[in-house]
């Protein structure tokens, strides 16, 4: 359970890096396509066609960001409930919260571009939180021995 949690957290961090990579890949492909005479407008943006091959980067970014990463974050949270390590749930909740914020910023960024800039910044926070979650697991002792002081219901 613990190594699963740790691996999940690392995978989320890696996924955020992939998100950045595919975005730049797509934007660079777009630039190259326009240089070669391609015209980008709403018709092209709303078509499901691939005017240049790097456009796949936008699709990956969307699927990863809207489906894969939120699913991974939710699984991390579920796993956290069963990992007997202090802070596991807390870090997972932070990851889930930052993922939710990231989606909101990403979507609203289409209308308010400055929020897109915050989307870029929040990505770093998400990587940091994911790595912190993983490291928290690594640093934890094998079993919980110390009784937790914040459990008044336990008698």
């Amino acid at each position: 359970m613990r190594s699963f949690y740790r691996i999940l957290a690392y995978v989320i961090a890696a996924e955020v890096a992939i998100q950045a990579m595919v975005m730049v890949y797509a934007v660079a492909g777009l630039g190259k396509w326009v240089e070669g005479g391609g015209v980008l407008d709403k018709s092209v943006m709303e078509s499901e066609a691939t005017p240049f091959s790097e456009v796949v980067g936008f699709a990956i970014h969307g699927i990863n960001g809207m489906m894969v990463i939120p699913a991974l974050a939710l699984i991390l949270l579920i796993v956290a409930f069963f990992v007997k390590v202090a802070g596991a749930v807390k870090f997972a909740l932070i990851v889930v919260g930052l993922v939710a914020l990231q989606i909101v910023l990403g979507l609203l960024g289409h209308g308010v571009p400055f929020l897109g800039a915050l989307h870029g910044l929040n990505a770093f926070l998400l990587v940091g939180a994911s790595l912190a979650a993983a490291r928290n697991m690594r640093a934890a002792p094998d079993t919980i021995t110390a009784p937790r002081t914040t459990s008044p219901t336990m008698t």
Binding site: D41, S43, E46, S47, A49, F81, K84, L107, G111
Partner: protein, 483 residues
């Protein structure tokens, strides 16, 4: 040591509860969103009587009885044979899509105002079935071509006859309304021009814009040259068959927007160096006079494809998109609307939003109408003769080209600012994010009419409401979101 054991058990229970808290609502929403295997459009959604008392029942006159006079012989007879096949575009590229009579775009259908048009659609090899919708023409309901609503999809080997009177002169187009987000993109479409009884003078040409898998075309070509003599007047009928707003502009001559969505603009002003926005599904007729000095003129669509007007040796330069965009709210001169919005008998709101959820068991970020996901969206109930006011507001984060079947609506105001130009009659209205349009129309064409977003993938994502006349029923059944 009983305590750690109890704690472990408690922890497990809390963990399971927490998981259930996450999973159970998701499972419930997923299950609740699933649509029956087949259903009637009248079974789904919430009747909205627009401030009227009324009741909604499923009995009533079948929409199949709303037809053109069956005894009247046709003036224009067309046969369109649809095939799914690989074909060569006018640009020379190969494309795997759909053809009508072996070509895409399909043949130009021409009629004179008042004539009865009869189109026989034959499905030769399209496996999913097809229909034809007459975009912008206020046809009788039985000829509207919405699969699962006004007819069954035409299966391979079958045919369907569309009959309607070409009541309004103007620029229109036809396209499949069966799996439309796929079939329209694949080329199941074509132009239709209804000429006024008094013929227009000068050159008259269609500029149908379509993207075939990323290949941009006008009338199937990358560029089309049209002969026009110096001093001659030219009408270029721009048709946007794609899913997003198209900008059209003219290099080499001032021009007028003579018509929008098949309705003439009243006293259109002459403009220059301005882009005309043509919403998805919309049309704009641009009219210009060829320069007396023999210069050529280029009508550019998105700066990618053009119609070049002039002599065969014409070399018209391309120009970048003008910074200014024509605003139809204040273009042309006011005239009588022919309806009195103050006497509206129904008032509806069509608020477009967006939220995560499930549609038919499919998770995603979907469009909402008045706060709800498909199919829990309004049926706008009207009776014949109603004057209907509708406020379309868009807070969804993206633009939506809204298309009402069977009727033309007039724009009264945008964001609270009243229209001051020519009456702006439209069937395909671009409602930008954060915008709010107030429109009005007369309920004069009984039936069951889709009122949806013409960014066709959005329709599959639930942006697909309908206007429904009380006492009208349909015998047809849907399998999923109508599109």
């Amino acid at each position: 040591m009983p305590e750690p054991k109890r704690r472990t058990r408690l922890r497990l229970i809390v963990g399971c509860l927490a998981v259930a808290l996450i999973v159970a609502p998701l499972a419930w929403f997923w299950n609740a969103s699933r649509l029956p295997a087949s259903f009637q459009i009248t079974d789904m959604g919430r009747p909205d009587f627009g401030g009227h008392a009324g009741h909604h029942d499923h009995a009533g006159r079948s929409l199949t009885s709303f037809t053109a006079d069956p005894a009247r012989p046709a003036d224009v007879t067309v046969k369109l044979v649809a095939r799914k096949e690989k074909f060569t575009l006018g640009t020379g590229k190969r494309f795997d899509g759909y053809t009508l009579n072996g070509q895409s775009p399909g043949p130009l259908i021409q009629a004179v105002q008042g004539q009865l048009v009869e189109v026989t659609l034959v499905n030769e090899t399209v496996p999913d079935g097809i229909t034809l919708h007459w975009h912008g023409i206020d046809v009788p309901n039985a000829a509207d071509g919405v699969a699962g609503v006004t007819q069954d999809a035409v299966a391979t080997g079958q045919h369907y006859v569309y009959r309607f009177v070409a009541g309004q002169a103007g620029t229109f187009w036809y396209h499949s309304h069966r799996l439309s987000h796929h079939q329209v993109a694949g080329g199941l479409l074509g132009p239709i021009v209804i000429a006024p009884k008094t013929p227009l003078s000068g050159v008259d040409t269609v500029a149908l814009h379509h993207l075939y898998g990323g290949n941009r075309t006008v009338n199937g070509l990358a560029e089309q040259s049209v002969l026009a003599a110096p001093g001659q007047s030219v009408r270029v009928r721009v048709i946007n068959t794609d899913n997003g707003l198209l900008s059209a502009w003219v290099a080499g001559a001032p021009f007028q927007v003579a018509a929008i969505d098949g309705t003439e603009v009243n006293e259109p002003g002459t403009v220059d160096n301005v882009a005309v926005p043509v919403p998805a599904g919309g049309r704009a007729d641009l009219e210009l006079t060829m320069p007396a000095d023999g210069g050529s003129v280029r009508v550019q669509l998105a700066g990618a494809v053009s119609i070049v007007l002039g002599s065969t040796a014409a070399v018209a330069p391309t120009v970048p998109r003008p910074k200014a965009t024509l605003d139809l709210l204040s273009y042309g001169k006011p005239a009588a609307l022919g309806l009195e919005p103050a006497n509206a008998t129904r008032t509806f709101r069509y608020d477009i939003g967006r939220r995560p959820g499930f549609i038919d068991g499919r998770p995603g970020l979907f469009w909402t109408v008045n706060g709800h996901l498909y199919p829990d969206i309004p049926m706008f109930m009207v009776t014949e003769g109603d004057i209907v006011r509708m406020t379309i507001s868009n807070g969804s984060g993206e633009t939506h080209p809204m298309h009402l079947h069977g009727h033309h609506a007039v724009v009264l105001a945008r964001d609270g600012v009243a229209a001051t130009g020519s009456p702006w009659w439209t069937d395909s209205l671009e409602v930008g994010n954060g915008e709010s349009y107030e429109i009005a129309f007369v309920a004069d064409n009984p039936g069951l009419w889709m009122d949806h977003c013409h960014n066709l993938p959005h329709a599959t994502e639930g942006l697909m409401a309908h206007v429904m006349y009380e006492g009208v029923s349909t015998p047809f059944r849907l399998q999923g979101v109508p599109e």
